[in-house]
Assembly symmetry: D3
Homo-oligomer: 140 residues x 6
């Protein structure tokens, strides 16, 4: 069984590869390459997988999951300029793919010891564009 | 191919394990353990899987699916206090995990004979929190 | 200028007039008259009106507004059975009209001294059904 | 990793099997069999799968994906009467299952040569009813 | 106090003034002038205004309002081609402005005798485009 | 009658009054005072008011309205850092109140000569927080 919890954070980012020209960056990222940066209301959906405890009927203590999300993702990323204030984005381009990858790493480390494992990280950059990371032995 | 249909019902529930203390229940379920109960607008998404009929272009008669959802889930659960009025929640804690499990059982029994099989039950307790049950040989 | 802030709470209620018969209550409130109660995820939108401060560019300190909403509405009503746990609903039917009226009274009292006045309280009982209270000298 | 992009188009359709009677069509498609046609705001979600390029942090150039969606699906189908103006729906019933199938074929042909493969086509006919086509070796 | 109820219908329409050329119609209505027609999921919000009854706490019997909406608007317009099947659109262009006007007339006639008067008709043609008709002595 | 059109833009901003201390800015704007900036997906709803043309059934040519929105608001503000790239925000704090005010001025100037006048500008900074500017002789 899967349990999904949503969270939101508002942040700025710039998408540029420093070794490329302005024109090449524009071709890759469109307006997202503007060096002054722009921002989004990111919507995050985190899914964990496990069996409901027969006594409590819960896969995971939801309060514990919310606290991990808040501490590991929302607090460090909300109202930040990702390239300048959140690791590893001073040297990794903060595309939604890479932001989702970093969120996956932060959450997986912190879910150790809980009775559910991370199954999917979905990150919406806008309502029309999102990415999913799914555990290797799961599908979409 | 998968076909998904949504339905909604508004219900009350209490999440408490009778053998545990007030404090333990509060730790497990937070405010959800309040013995007077509270309620939600539950949003249900039911997905069935099958091949479209070459003549009709449909996996399943949508009208038939809607009637099963209405008869088996919405009518018995809408505007009810789940712990007191809907089986098996007088003795099973009506967490979203357990409500989704009960919906799966009711639907699977009633889809026998139709040309599609139940693939996923997704239940939103709030827009920020949902659970999924997925057929064993499917993934998320 | 108007500033609107949303908040949510999940609660149970029963809609019944004690002096009426079961059949009369059913005619008035439909399934909402079920004496065991049922529940909703209530969505509240509170609008205040004022002029932006020329120095700060804000009509009202949003943090102050959020705290009033939390203290006066969300904390006392969230995860409660309104008829039994929230005044004045032990003797006033908690229809969305009456809940919105009570929220208006609680907020208006608490916005005294802030540089904006309450302009509208909108309460969604479901996504398909909401009520608005608007200051007498305003329109919809 | 999966990347999903949304698009919308507004179109008319009629769902009827010519060899069947009015009554049989009504039983299959309900009001959707009305020979004058009716319409929808179709919402399309297209998901591609691939590995993010280590240099750019992107699975696919989003601008390229948007152009394919626009050219192959939105422009030919938006503001059209599908049965009369879009192939193959002069002879194939434009159920959501069949429309999604046609979108899958158009996109898969046009994604050749890009570094990501089509993983899922999701098509909403209304907010309450959608279909999914998922690559054979993926699950839901 | 205002009470709002939502309803939906799916319909086809063509926007063309017969006395104008193809090019002039295209300039006025864009792709909406396609003579084959296209369609939408129309979302309707109907608002009535009145004082809550002190005994029942309701402005209007919601069940009565739903029945009027269903009988006067949803049933005659849902799954129809408006220009051919719904009066007065054989001779009046079914723009959202004109459809909302027709809905206003149908509802106002049928709310006579109920303790609330029609205050606003809001009609969404798409999520990005809607129109409002508001009673003359009310504002937005 | 009122016609409303939505548009979106993604931008960065910082909310700080230069003459105030860090602590005072933090008290006014919370995390929004972070000098590196943060960002949002801004959702804009623009409402115009007028009478439908009896021949065309339209209050305003929607294509003309969309072009004004695009040229005056979306193109200059989308993917920009408002404080550094959009006038007058190098010296005016880009709170939602002030951004909406600037949008009102840009639109009102550009709607001259069209058969409808600006009635309301609504700007969502997040789904939970928005502001409205309404023409002086209109209400909410």
């Amino acid at each position: 069984m899967f349990v999904t919890r949503k969270a939101e954070f508002s942040a700025s980012h710039v998408c540029r590869v420093p070794s490329l020209s302005d024109q090449e960056n524009q071709q890759l990222y469109g307006e997202g390459a503007n060096p002054n940066g722009h921002g989004h209301n990111y919507l995050l959906e985190v899914t964990v997988e496990g069996d409901p405890d027969p006594a409590t009927g819960m896969v995971i203590n939801l309060q514990a999951l919310k606290e991990i999300l808040l501490r590991e993702v929302v607090e460090p990323m909300d109202h930040r300029f990702l390239n300048y204030e959140v690791e590893p984005f001073h040297k990794v381009v903060p595309t939604p793919e890479n932001i989702a990858g970093e969120i996956w790493r932060r959450l997986e480390n912190n879910l150790q010891g809980l009775p559910a494992r991370l199954a999917r990280v979905r990150l919406y950059e806008t309502p029309d564009h999102h990415v999913d990371i799914v555990r290797g032995d799961l599908s979409l």
